[in-house]
Symmetry: C2
């Protein structure tokens, strides 16, 4: 019998009423004859509440203890959802990440799934039970609980769908799919019925909040078909079709959508002496502190002075700038920073081999008088860093100029 | 190096500020050169809040899922206390019950400790760390978390003190020791500096809320010295000295204290036909539903009709009455019940071989016009079941008539 993995985020299980509604949906899905595995996040703002408590008792909470603390959020959700299912007469059992067979390596707070041993899950499914699995967590080599970091519940669900060879992974969220742009900014934005994993991964990395990009990439790697749907209604949502080779997907002649991110700041090291290993000297200290760097631009001549610029989230700006200043002073350069920036990206496989898209994007922003601070491109996206207060205007402009509201996506 | 096990209840870790205060106390205890193991309950009303959520999603929550849910309360406390200790520069590590090596058997919600494998605890102590252990929980044979039931954190602490051969087990609570009677009812009540485990166990079973009787009995069995202290001040508290043979304890010539319980109801099966197995037919169905029966009184003649009465808590009254009615009707008898009762007990090893104490108790209550509904006696206690609204008066009267306010206890 086929297996479907469903994942419900924190807003879908925020209250007892929400949990009962999810139980109703799981019960109906089960009536279709499929085996159901459900991955759940912590209720509503539980994770934030626990992090606040940690900040109250400690100036610098240890990552191991943070993981021990945060894992309880999902453990509560799974138990409550199993109870709600029992109450509807649906046999169900809850499993924590360690119980579900998730083996995790890496660092506390940002663990990586090394293996899933789904023996217990298969046994329970064999008994006709719905299996409810805590997202975002697993067991490390010490036998301790370790979390996958924020957004990890999406990754849990997709990894589980891959390990169980599920027919599909359904991600339930508070929006009804992926749009050509954020509908709060562009009212004409349209829901995308089918999108490739590759495009979806780019959209996620570039700012689309609906799914965690790590989960999308995992789905692409293992060919998991992902359905993004609203947990509040029955609309069809967006299907993310897997793999790098999309024989069955119609080739689009245009971009898939415009995505943006309002939380960007830039740090530039000016006039530094470069040589082999310079980039590593700049970025290793950031990586050691767990600071993610997004866009990186280097501009220099061999053996001469160069400028290196990169972006981080605003929360990491002060620390990243301090680290950059230490490196810059040892390389004879200076650091300059800009805190209030954002990103806007045009994403789509249709852009492959069509260099005109970047030019069209620059022209569109230029006509609107929006200054471009940095540019980053790849085969399927062009990203421009612009001032925060111009991001929304840029999104609307690009959505219009790329004619996304007029065509069937 | 000697080990001390400290246990802090829910009210001692109710808020971030409370947790920081506990961290201060643990830090100071460590300065004395002892290895410290701390057992913690869930924060304040966490367990009640989680049970309320369970009731909201399910009419009859499954015991396994309740355990999965409730265990998270203690898991949060241990992580937060470890963080607060780090913040004071005290090396510390938190362990859930399963991580700490607690192996549990029995039923979900009322597990029994079968074994403690304290390897990890010893390793961490060897590294100079304070070890913070989640009370009330352990792992069953399936690898699932199972709780010991309410009051289980006391049992966790005492069992751990026994397994680690600790010098003593310190129970921190919101009162500063064991009193000759409840000071809220008898202002003249005195703190008992030293009490035998046997007396303490009786006082706990008979209504003293300070320590769970199960934990006291475990301490008696393994000879663990237990110190009951306030977590809010530095007063010496009460020392519970272990074992049945109290060579080192002065033999008291009087009762240790008066204890009471306001939550008692009585069910009586009148005129039932008795024979071999009758008592089992009455009480097995109650045990199967997990209903604890306290005082049992049987009054009958061989082969003739008999009356059997027993007490349960008010919360179990309706269900117990229903079960009793099923049995009574098959035995030709009838059921009568009384819901608003309480118990008052006189406890003390000094009562051994001194039958006059029961008579003195009956006289004291009789003079006050307090009706006695049931009586239960053992070597070290006499308990009378009386109407709820007469319990406090009975406690004051007995405390005075046994001259507890005047003598050095």
């Amino acid at each position: 019998m086929g297996i479907v993995v469903q994942k419900y985020g924190g807003s879908s299980v925020a209250t007892a009423e929400h949990i009962k509604a999810v139980a109703g949906r799981v019960g109906r899905a089960r009536e279709s004859g499929l085996d159901i595995v459900v991955v759940v996040s912590a209720m509503g703002k539980t994770t934030d509440r626990l992090l606040r408590l940690a900040d109250e008792v400690s100036r610098e909470p240890s990552p191991r203890e943070i993981d021990q603390l945060l894992a309880t959020g999902e453990e509560q959700s799974v138990a409550l959802l199993a109870m709600a299912l029992h109450d509807r007469g649906v046999p169900a059992v809850s499993l924590t990440g360690p119980q579900a067979g998730f083996r995790i390596t890496g660092r506390y707070g940002s663990g990586v799934i090394s293996e899933i041993q789904p023996k217990r899950i298969h046994e329970y499914l064999g008994e006709g039970q719905a299996v409810i699995v805590a997202g975002f967590q697993g067991m490390n080599a010490l036998g301790d609980v370790m979390t996958l970091g924020r957004g990890g519940s999406d990754t849990t669900a997709v990894a589980l769908a891959a390990a169980l060879e599920a027919e599909r992974c359904e991600i339930y969220t508070d929006v009804d799919g992926i749009y050509t742009a954020d509908p709060r900014i562009v009212p004409e934005a349209r829901r995308i019925p089918v999108i490739s994993s590759e495009e979806m991964a780019e959209m996620s990395w570039r700012g689309a909040k609906v799914m965690h990009p790590r989960a999308v990439e995992l789905g692409a790697l293992y060919g998991v078909e992902i359905h993004v749907r609203s947990s509040f209604d029955e609309t069809p949502g967006t299907i993310i079709k897997g793999g790098k080779h999309l024989e069955h997907l119609e080739t689009r002649e245009t971009v898939a959508g415009i995505v943006h991110d309002l939380d960007v700041s830039r740090i530039t090291l000016n006039d530094i002496k470069t040589g082999p290993g310079t980039m590593s000297r700049i970025f290793t200290p950031l990586a050691e502190r767990g600071i993610s760097v997004d866009v990186i631009v280097e501009n220099g001549v061999p053996g001469g002075a160069a400028d290196v610029a990169f972006t981080v989230t605003r929360g990491n700006f002060a620390e990243a700038r301090k680290l950059a200043e230490e490196v810059a002073s040892s390389l004879g350069g200076e650091v300059e920073g800009e805190e209030d920036l954002g990103k806007v990206s045009v994403v789509g496989t249709g852009m492959l081999n069509r260099p005109g898209y970047a030019a069209k994007m620059f022209a569109s922003l230029g006509e609107a008088g929006i200054p471009i601070r940095m540019v980053s491109t790849s085969e399927i996206q062009v990203t421009c860093v612009v001032p925060t207060d111009r991001v929304e205007e840029a999104v609307r402009r690009l959505h219009k100029d790329f004619e996304l509201e007029e065509r069937d996506v």
